[in-house]
Point group: C2
């Protein structure tokens, strides 16, 4: 859609530019005026968005053109002024200030320029970690076990005492797969020693040293874009086209009918159908000797369109996986870190046992995984790379965990999430021609579908031009991935602008 065709609302009617600070009055033209006057958790945050140019604006366009001389840059949305961005507001280089409910693809835990994070960098003792990045697998720093304990382990999923760090989500999943393969092969060996043939054959990618093992994944999933992860990713063809992939098992992820309460029986049948596929794939692959060592799954298929499944589905999946001697790898790269109102989304599912692996990245600032003790490697260098994560990121995470606790941000995610969900459900009733009745979410991890892919794109762009940065996913979904400092009054601002946009969309 050409940006020039958009009919902009003059955003000056929404914000008082001279009052560019929190706790000031902010006029909402729609229905939620009474709720929006709460104190911003990040001092100095704007009272509302402010947009005065097209997005991307002229400065962004010029910078995109400059960057494009160096690398493919056509996918850039706009250049950002990170100095001016604050809290929930992202400010672009053209001076537009947007309420950011996408937060860098869900990767900012405390919004922009949180003062407590600045303090971490300013502490001279901490600067040592930023200047001297270690090869963590060989030369960790004094105090490293304590840092892991005060950060990652202090918020570990129930039952987890073991954690490894990596640089990003893909590395975390790749290494979880590898740890799974080792564990499975060791079970198969039953204590027998590794043979010379295994050692020599693996060097040239042959069996028996290289294994024919597989990881099961689900249609619609996203687990990263390295070749191993990509084999388990199935959300969109753009990620996969032209790349080689391994022939690993794929089962269907439930696709529910909404409203859930009206279709309880149908949705239970959908669970059963998908779980039957899981059983079939186990049987088919295990029978052929291409053993399924693990099953990887997102608690909510985020990139694939924010597709939710029931706790019962996950409980039963765990039972089937265990029955087949495989590991359950829960990929919390996007769902983890607190937005669902718990640190780990799968903790909403009341699984009978802890997950075998929980992988993370994004809001955790470092990649990594929790795993049960039985998945510890038996040898060094196998779950390994030069850096093995980055202690400077863990220093920042330690402060994030402290702030989340101090400011009660998990409860806030539930509270702001309820405001969002109530508002979205209300809008879907009042604008059924635009918003489908499958509004869904846990905490602030919410999403809604528009009436078509085209209307989703239009809504996305118009939201931007009215001062809201949201994120598309799936075919026709908009996802909300605000940071943990997203408060109910931010939800009100978002909902109000969304309603303005809905009024502005033509019904075809």
């Amino acid at each position: 859609m050409a940006l020039s065709k958009l009919n902009f609302l003059n955003l000056n009617q929404l914000t008082t530019k001279s009052n560019f600070f929190a706790n000031r009055y902010y006029y909402l033209p729609n229905s939620r005026n009474v709720k929006c006057f709460s104190t911003a958790l990040v001092p100095g945050e704007p009272s509302g968005p402010s947009v005065s140019s097209s997005i991307p604006g002229p400065k962004s366009r010029e910078m995109i053109a400059n960057l494009d001389k160096i690398q493919f840059a056509s996918a850039i949305w706009y250049f950002t002024d990170y100095k001016k961005s604050l809290g929930n507001y992202i400010v672009d280089v053209d001076g537009n200030s947007l309420l950011d409910v996408f937060s860098q693809i869900s990767s900012l835990p405390l919004g922009y320029n949180h003062p407590d994070l600045h303090k971490v960098i300013q502490d001279p003792d901490n600067q040592i970690a930023f200047v001297n990045r270690p090869a963590l697998g060989i030369f960790p720093a004094e105090g490293w076990p304590e840092k892991l304990t005060s950060s990652l382990l202090s918020i570990a999923p129930k039952g987890h005492t073991q954690v490894n760090t990596f640089a990003c989500g893909s590395c975390s999943n790749e290494n979880a797969f590898k740890a799974t393969f080792m564990w499975y092969r060791n079970k198969q060996r039953g204590g027998a020693p590794i043979t010379d043939e295994e050692n020599s054959s693996c060097l040239i990618n042959r069996q028996p040293g290289s294994t024919p093992f597989t990881i099961m994944s689900f249609k619609g999933s996203f687990h990263g874009q390295t070749l191993g992860c990509l084999t388990t990713t199935h959300s969109r063809s753009i990620f996969k086209l032209d790349f080689p992939a391994l022939d690993w098992p794929i089962a269907s992820f439930p696709r529910y009918k909404y409203p859930l309460e009206e279709f309880a029986e149908e949705n239970k049948a959908e669970d059963r159908k998908c779980l039957a596929e899981v059983e079939e794939e186990f049987e088919r692959f295990n029978k052929s000797g291409r053993f399924v060592a693990g099953v990887v799954i997102e608690p909510v298929q985020a990139e694939g369109g924010d597709v939710h499944a029931s706790p019962e589905f996950f409980q039963e999946l765990q039972r089937i996986t265990k029955k087949n001697g495989a590991a359950l790898i829960i990929d919390e790269v996007q769902t983890g870190g607190g937005a669902t109102g718990k640190y780990w989304c799968h903790e909403h599912f009341n699984l009978p046992d802890p997950a075998d692996f929980v992988t993370f990245s994004k809001k955790m600032l470092t990649g990594g995984f929790y795993s049960l003790p039985e998945f510890r490697p038996q040898q060094g260098l196998k779950i390994f790379n030069t850096w093995m994560g980055d202690p400077s990121k863990v220093l920042l995470l330690e402060k994030v965990v402290e702030v989340v606790k101090r400011d009660n941000l998990l409860n806030l995610a539930q509270e702001s999430g309820k405001r969002l969900m109530d508002g979205l459900k209300d809008l879907s009733k009042r604008y059924p021609q635009h918003i489908k009745n499958n509004v869904r979410g846990i905490g602030t991890f919410c999403a809604f579908d528009l009436s078509s892919p085209q209307k989703r794109d239009e809504t996305f762009v118009k939201l931007q031009h009215h001062g809201v940065q949201s994120g598309p996913c799936g075919e026709q979904t908009l996802r909300l991935r605000p940071s943990l400092v997203f408060q109910p009054h931010h939800a009100d601002i978002f909902l109000d602008i969304l309603e303005t946009v809905l009024n502005d969309i033509q019904t075809v």
Copy 2:
């Protein structure tokens, strides 16, 4: 080997502990006393190593035990006091100070706590980048193209104008492979549009959307440990055992006889044999429809034992690769960054054309690759992940590049490397029972073989206990990977201690 069996030299005879500063006199018991009194580039650096406990010492052992409660930690060498480590000296938590010629698996460009890098962190403007890590593929910061230009592009291999950043070496290689596959498929398509069948089949890992393409690699290589990279890694079975691998072509890497000048004809024949294998693998795979889209190679096989090949081998490899319509991916993750006396080791080879891809990480502080313009993706999101590198690392790299230029560190690498090579060759002549006559190196990127794997291990441990941190690789090799602030007088200290150790090793 049990540490207690080692016969330690009393290191007090090597260092004057009270004179723990640079530019002080330092007594070398062996032959190189006259050369070692130069000014340290990093002010305050110790005048020599100082070891007073076993390594790992009692404090390290306790910390390893603590870490082992949280994660597999048996592969840790020792815990490090990064506050006390300085320049070329790594200080462990037991107070031992070692001359570090391994520099965190070759990943520290300027040694420990370089004052100029501390200044980068202390600058409030820079702190913005450390606190607000962007999703670079969508929301880059103002000034990002300029930062790329002043850092990575200012030192680009000749003929390269395009650069992409990633988090680590594995990600860089994985993405270079992917960009290669896209480019190859687009050539195959010859402008034909992408079909619905391609889009739907790739979602379930099937052809034609998923391609049967391959990347050729070499025996003895190391390109990373994610599943795609691991398929092209063949250095040691420990990295590969138990993991699935793709069936991709593998050719032999030359294994020369030394001294090179004596075996010129034999080594040329070795080149021809290996290149013939490359041709055969191209033919075999291309004929079977499993097209070889790219060839990945290290300029020096580092992890595999510092195996060197001739410029002529690389020149001819480029010609064959081009003739077969494939891309040449030069993996400079370990060789890049200046230790060879040039930023890019392959620039020593006088290739007729620029390499198609040059991948990097480690001393560059950020992962990434340079690539020729024809390898630019045609669509967004394909060479993509959430973070796409980390601007805070590029800020540090920018300063590194400035310091390398200011302090003339590429020349220094040549100068210190010559001192190292001369000394090692001399030692290999005087201690032929211990050091094989295949001492090899470019700049400070040097290595030597001991008489057996056991003697290598013994030398490694005794070097540590005499105050030198080296790195093992291959079967019986020690590699030197000092940082760029390694000066001739550090080479003298290293050579002197090595000689002490050689005198202490029993000939079996």
